[in-house]
């Protein structure tokens, strides 16, 4: 599942979450396959982002260095020269905490906008 801006959506992708109108009322159900017609309709409704199945869009280039989940995964590797240094260990753990919070708040924002809490 991936949240993408509408302008990166392509026919053939499948919605993994329903798309609500500005007032919260769902207009397209989850599981719907995207068509040119649907894209035009969503555009006219000022929908900015949708959530689709799989991971069809490579967002690395778009997000540059700011993908916090990637940062978390790289942390131990980047600090590998200092396994026994207490000070560098503290610096690393500080950033682990920072990136964890950032990654979590990014995900919460992605879910909160498209659907009320669903126990995920």
């Amino acid at each position: 599942m991936q949240k993408i801006p509408l302008n990166l959506a392509k026919p053939g992708m499948v919605l993994s979450k329903p798309v609500p109108r500005q007032d919260g009322i769902v207009v397209v159900a989850a599981g719907t396959e995207i068509t040119e017609g649907l894209l035009a309709k969503l555009e006219s409704m000022d929908v900015e982002t949708i959530v689709v199945e799989g991971n069809p869009v490579n967002m690395d280039g778009v997000m540059a260095g700011s993908s916090y989940t990637t940062r978390l995964g790289r942390l131990d590797h980047l600090f590998r020269k200092f396994p026994d240094d207490a000070w560098m260990g503290r610096v690393k753990e500080m950033f682990r905490g920072y990136f964890t919070i950032k990654a979590a708040s990014g995900q919460a924002a992605a879910q909160g906008e498209t659907q009320p809490k669903s126990g995920e």
Partner: protein, 279 residues
């Protein structure tokens, strides 16, 4: 014997005939600036005579790295807002990176990221003239570029040593040359008559604790280099974060925790410059 070798290497690195040439206009501009009766207008007119150079300078000063994105329309405007030191640093960096080969794009991006992080840290610490810090960040790995241009076979040796032994680029330089790019930076800064604060940012970015004259400059670039590597924006030649000197925080009177607020700003600014290509 070892000293002889170092001297010989230094000679090779600084062999003037092969050093990336700085635009001749920069020499004349420096002379003009040294005279107290010169005006900004005269300096601007002189730089503007080199149209290719002016276009490059304007592109850089209008990038999000500096404080006035998209709002500087002329060289004289740039000089008034950013000062001659910043403009001179930009001219030096564009001239040196011009000789850069394709496989150094990563280093250009790393330099951009370090420049951006430097001014962000300087602003957060309330330091004066934050754009001068960003120029020092932009130039902090110049020694790597020059070493590559002067001794192409050296770069290949460094890169394979980094891979084989999992060394940092700096450690590999020291093993092969006896000194690192920070020393080369010092020679270059002297050779090109860069201002002393920018010189200290360049040659002490790995050792801010021993910076004598402008410790804040060295500490800012030191932490900026760390952050650029932590976010892996571009590449400094190896995938490690450098050891963070605890003294850098003392010098800047901040706590490690303060880096979080700096990163909040920086995360967004990184996205803004992600398409700032070198051309």
């Amino acid at each position: 014997m070892e000293e002889d070798l170092k001297t010989e290497r230094k000679g090779q690195l600084l062999a003037i005939k092969d050093l990336p040439t700085l635009p001749t206009v920069l020499d004349e501009v420096s002379k003009l600036v040294a005279r107290p009766e010169s005006t900004t207008e005269q300096v601007a007119r002189l730089i503007s005579m080199d149209q290719v150079l002016s276009a490059k300078v304007l592109k850089m000063v209008n990038s999000p790295i500096y404080g006035f994105p998209g709002r500087i329309s002329s060289i004289s405007h740039a000089l008034m807002l950013l000062g001659f030191n910043v403009i001179r640093g930009i001219i030096v960096s564009t001239s040196v990176f011009e000789v850069m080969t394709k496989n150094m794009v990563g280093l250009w991006e790393h330099s951009i990221a370090t420049a951006l992080a430097s001014s962000t840290i300087a602003r957060a610490c309330g330091l004066r003239d934050p754009d001068e810090y960003s120029v020092a960040g932009l130039l902090h790995d110049l020694g790597k570029v020059v070493a590559t241009v002067q001794l192409p076979e050296l770069k290949i040796a460094i890169e394979s040593l980094v891979k084989e032994k999992d060394l940092t680029y700096l450690a590999a330089e020291k093993e092969l040359l006896g000194f690192g790019h920070d020393r080369i930076n010092a020679w270059l800064a002297t050779h090109w008559k860069l201002p002393p604060n920018i010189k200290e940012g360049m040659d002490h970015h790995h050792s801010p604790q021993t910076a004598q004259l402008y410790p804040e400059m060295a500490a800012v670039v030191h932490l900026a280099d760390f952050l650029a590597r932590l976010y892996e924006f571009g590449s400094g030649g190896d995938d490690n974060v450098p050891f963070v000197q605890p003294d850098a925080f003392k010098i800047l009177k901040i706590k490690p925790k303060d880096l979080e607020a700096i990163c909040d700003t920086l995360g967004e600014r990184f996205v803004e410059v992600s398409d700032l290509k070198f051309t």
